[in-house]
Symmetry: C2
């Protein structure tokens, strides 16, 4: 039975259930920062997924990345799987712009999160869901 790590649950909003992953939005309005969490509670590394699951992960990552490009003014996508603080396997998909507060550095460990207003997070989640529905195959 999959259980989302409490820290991930506290810091993110639910967006969608994809085939392998839960898609979440990090509550930090500085950048559009989505997180894919494979529903495999005990895993910590991408290479612990089966080959088919790894292919599904990169596929879902690319769908989300293209959606981030569609719904935000970003011009670069940053992907990453770190897990140094929260070990449960999770995968970051982040839209970057040259005027975001961390550019050109990484967003991890950069400044403190700035929470969304309820309206702003709901709007971004709705936009993401709409694009994902349109690109579903």
């Amino acid at each position: 039975m999959f259980q989302l790590h409490p820290r991930l649950a506290a810091d993110t909003f639910a967006v969608a259930q994809l085939t392998l992953c839960e898609l979440r939005l990090l509550n930090n309005c500085c950048v559009p920062w989505f997180i894919l969490v494979p529903r495999k509670s005990q895993l910590t590394e991408v290479h612990q997924l089966s080959e088919t699951e790894q292919q599904q992960l990169i596929w879902e990552s690319s769908r989300v990345a293209q959606a981030v490009e569609a719904i935000s003014p970003c011009h670069k996508i940053n992907l990453g799987a770190l897990g140094n603080v929260v070990s449960q396997l999770h995968w970051h998909v982040i839209g970057r712009t040259t005027d975001d507060p961390c550019w050109p550095g990484p967003v991890w460990g950069c400044g403190t999160a700035k929470p969304y207003s309820a309206t702003a997070s709901a709007q971004l989640i709705a936009q993401m869901k709409k694009v994902l529905r349109e690109t579903h195959d």
Copy 2:
């Protein structure tokens, strides 16, 4: 014709030619930091690769990650594709330990690179090549 970005060429050592990617070792002995560069000079994002190429990339990433675990005392792998400074598509596979100088933060943007001795880099590259040969399929 694939051309490695001059900055990547200057900062890394050649390790191996995999099916999709050139594998390189970053000249920074603080952490075992390998870089996969798909031989597609003009691309900047993972989702610009074909679906098959994305599957090959994650496969090569996992092979390298498992090899890093085999040849170094790391207990966590960090993966990432940023490209904020060098836009040519490249993929990081980094072995982390709790006593490395950047832990638990990201390695990108952390401190300055500490070059390997010629012996140390040659030894690490030889170890990586040996493990990759043994796990080739």
